[in-house]
Subunit: 441 residues, 2 copies
């Protein structure tokens, strides 16, 4: 059965909306205002709470309905002092930052011999006797990729390296930042230690520092020694929360469209590309669709809390709302660069709708991909439960230059690229939110 | 009287030397080794002393004669703790670094109201009552320039801003970094307080932080408050020194060619572009000229000490060697990017030599400029005393992205551009060192 064409906006009105969105300033203002008036907003902290208050006010002022903050509790880890220096054979201060959930050194730091490995596989292959009690350094060879796939390929050094090192009696782990830039700004990011494994101090050094450390390790005839101080703390359960707002649809029986981003950021920068931009894009696009006339379906905007530190908001949303009917889930959480590809996870019964979306996106330079649509971290539990996703894939070539660094700040936003995102989201949402349920999932 | 043509290398041998130098690895290895095996080497510190030891060994191993370290005493200032955060109306941590010669806050920092000015002129125009006892912020609008002239135009915020602020009873001065990048790496650099003026705490924040602070100042309805901690110390007189090496010429009566760079660096990075590159370039080029056959004139390489912190090495050299006969002075101290222009300060009596140099440089894409040849900071006293300079002007478009920041590290060196410098220096030196004294200065 074909999509009920009469419910969808026609090509001409989509084109008007798309062109207007290319001049969008709403998303840019959103990012500027949030990063200036709140700044960093680490999950579980008072700063994130201020971001929720700010967001509730902003969504209300934009005209969203049913705006509310939905709080939850989560374990919270916060950064302390973080310094590292080589003390032999050549003294060098290193730009370092602790990984989320890192263990702590003694307050005065610890000193140890550094043993280096080119990558995680080399570390895994080394005998325990070579690493026990040592400060282990692990590198990698991550390169920029447009689809961001190199993060998955090289990220395990951070994701699982500290746990593996802890299990092998390593004193502390220092990794090359999971990033593709050459600035003295280390990349943080979460790591996790398995049940019963005592966390060890685990930090990332900037790429120039990693280059230098690798040269030092190669040249040193005697031991390379490092003094490392990381004093993070666990605060126990703290309050985080999701912020929700809605464009209420005309058909209360129609499953809703959920569009997500995450409100929390890492603490080092002001979280402009990760993920103020995502929240600005989805809010601006939803507002534009509302301005085109009340959509059939409710569009629910989800600003998830505490994503960076464990995707707590996405899980809390699913616990509370997972049983509600979601037609499709989307998320913007890959920076602020142009959308270059669309991947539709709509069922084959909605192939015509997927075609229509692809056609509406083509004028923005967005091609159709054959990739799996995964939705994003915060809608992950929904998608896992069977809600289809549509992914507007952003260009990630430069994303890991800034990701989780002090450099994730407002000046990095390219206004034209951000507006292109809003345009892509606007036409996609306009089609999804007005689509029929012909064969709804 | 024409230059004695027979003493100069012919075009063919210059072309061979030039092409060979374009494959140079000597300068690159020099920079890599110095930045790795010594790293930062602030003037007057133990790190700079290690750099002298390293340099003496390196110059000897390269075959330089009369290699020695010439020490001198100088007042030495060292960095302490440096943090700043806005505490109202929005909390923000700021990436800050103290300016050289900054005064110190109390150990626990100071808290004050921030008053902002768009530029130095606006600060100068404000009444004393508006700034007394305040933390003053001063911005500027520096843009990249190929010839680096924007440093002179916008640098006074750093050069004289702190002194002016101290004279007006300002509690502390925070400036926008004198730099053109958008990274969270503040730019340090020296400032000076006049006789009898008590230094106040003076720091630079990174450009993204300055952007943010300016937005906060614009939005705040109440006072903007900052907590600032800068605890640098003055160590009194400490030892610095110049390192000298020579390619001994065949004619002891001929005035020598002096080619300079500075060995010290700021402490935040490893001083790759400022100025390990310069030392690598001049040493590699002198060696290449020696390899072409003993030159007529002695080429003296001067690795000056303590340039960043007051041009102490340049003055010490002049005091000790100013009376010796110098035919021409050159310096490489503007990074590691391509040479784009040559400015000759040779007297009109040597116009043919200047022409010959320009012709030898043209194949490297280097045009002839009409600018004044100033030589550089470390040969400044010589040039002021009448020694002519020849300037191989480097492209400074990107220089102030890295200048005096933690980001001045080896990975920033572009090997091809560095080799182009060596080629330009090689042909220029080969001509200067073999030139006649027809009408020597």
């Amino acid at each position: 059965m074909p999509i009920a064409a009469q419910t969808l906006p026609d090509d001409a009105s989509l084109a008007v909306a798309r062109d207007a969105a290319l001049q969008d300033r709403v998303a840019l203002d959103f990012v500027e205002d949030l990063t200036t008036e709140v700044g960093q907003r680490q999950g579980g902290t008072e700063a994130e709470a201020r971001a929720r208050t700010w967001s509730v006010a902003r969504l209300r002022s934009m005209g969203f309905a049913n705006v509310r903050s939905e709080e939850f509790q989560m374990p919270t880890w916060v950064r302390g002092e973080e310094t590292a220096e080589l003390i032999a054979p050549y003294p060098h201060r290193l730009a370092i930052t602790a990984l989320g959930n890192s263990g702590a050194t003694p307050a005065g730091g610890l000193t140890g011999e550094v043993v280096g490995f080119a990558d995680l596989a080399a570390f895994d292959a080394a005998p325990d006797s070579a690493v026990r009690g040592k400060i282990v350094y692990i590198g990698h060879t991550m390169q920029p990729t447009q689809d961001g796939s190199s993060y998955g390929a090289f990220g395990p050094v951070r994701f699982v390296g500290p746990d593996r090192a802890a299990r092998r009696g390593v004193a502390a782990l220092v990794i090359r930042s999971i990033g593709t830039d050459s600035h003295r700004n280390p990349h943080t990011g979460n790591t996790n230690f398995g049940e019963g494994v005592t966390p060890i101090p685990a930090g990332a050094i900037s790429n120039p520092d990693a280059d230098n450390l690798e040269r030092v390790l190669e040249r040193a005839s005697g031991p390379v020694r490092m003094h490392l101080t990381l004093t993070p703390r666990n605060l126990g359960q703290q309050t985080s929360g999701n912020v929700i707002g809605e464009i209420v649809g005309s058909d209360p029986s129609a499953p809703m469209v959920i569009i997500a981003c995450h409100l929390d950021s890492w603490d080092l920068g002001t979280g402009a590309i990760d993920d103020a931009a995502g929240c600005g894009i989805v809010a601006a696009a939803a507002k534009r669709v509302a301005d085109m006339g009340q959509p059939r379906r409710t569009i629910r905007v989800l600003f998830a809390g505490a994503e960076e530190v464990g995707i707590h908001g996405g899980r809390a949303y699913f616990e509370r709302h997972g049983a509600e009917r979601h037609f499709v889930a989307m998320e913007s959480d890959f920076g602020a660069d142009r959308v270059w590809r669309v991947d539709s996870g709509l069922p084959v019964t909605h192939a015509a709708l997927s075609d229509r979306i692809a056609r509406a996106l083509a004028p923005l330079g967005i091609g159709r991909g054959s990739g799996r649509a995964s939705g994003g971290a915060d809608v992950g539990p929904l998608v896992q439960a069977g809600v289809p996703a549509v992914d507007l894939q952003q260009d990630g070539t430069d994303y890991f230059n800034l990701h989780h660094t002090p450099d994730d700040t407002f000046d990095k936003i390219k206004p034209d690229a951000l507006a292109q995102n809003v345009a892509a989201w606007t036409v996609t949402l306009a089609l999804l939110a007005n689509s029929s349920d012909a064969v709804a999932p």
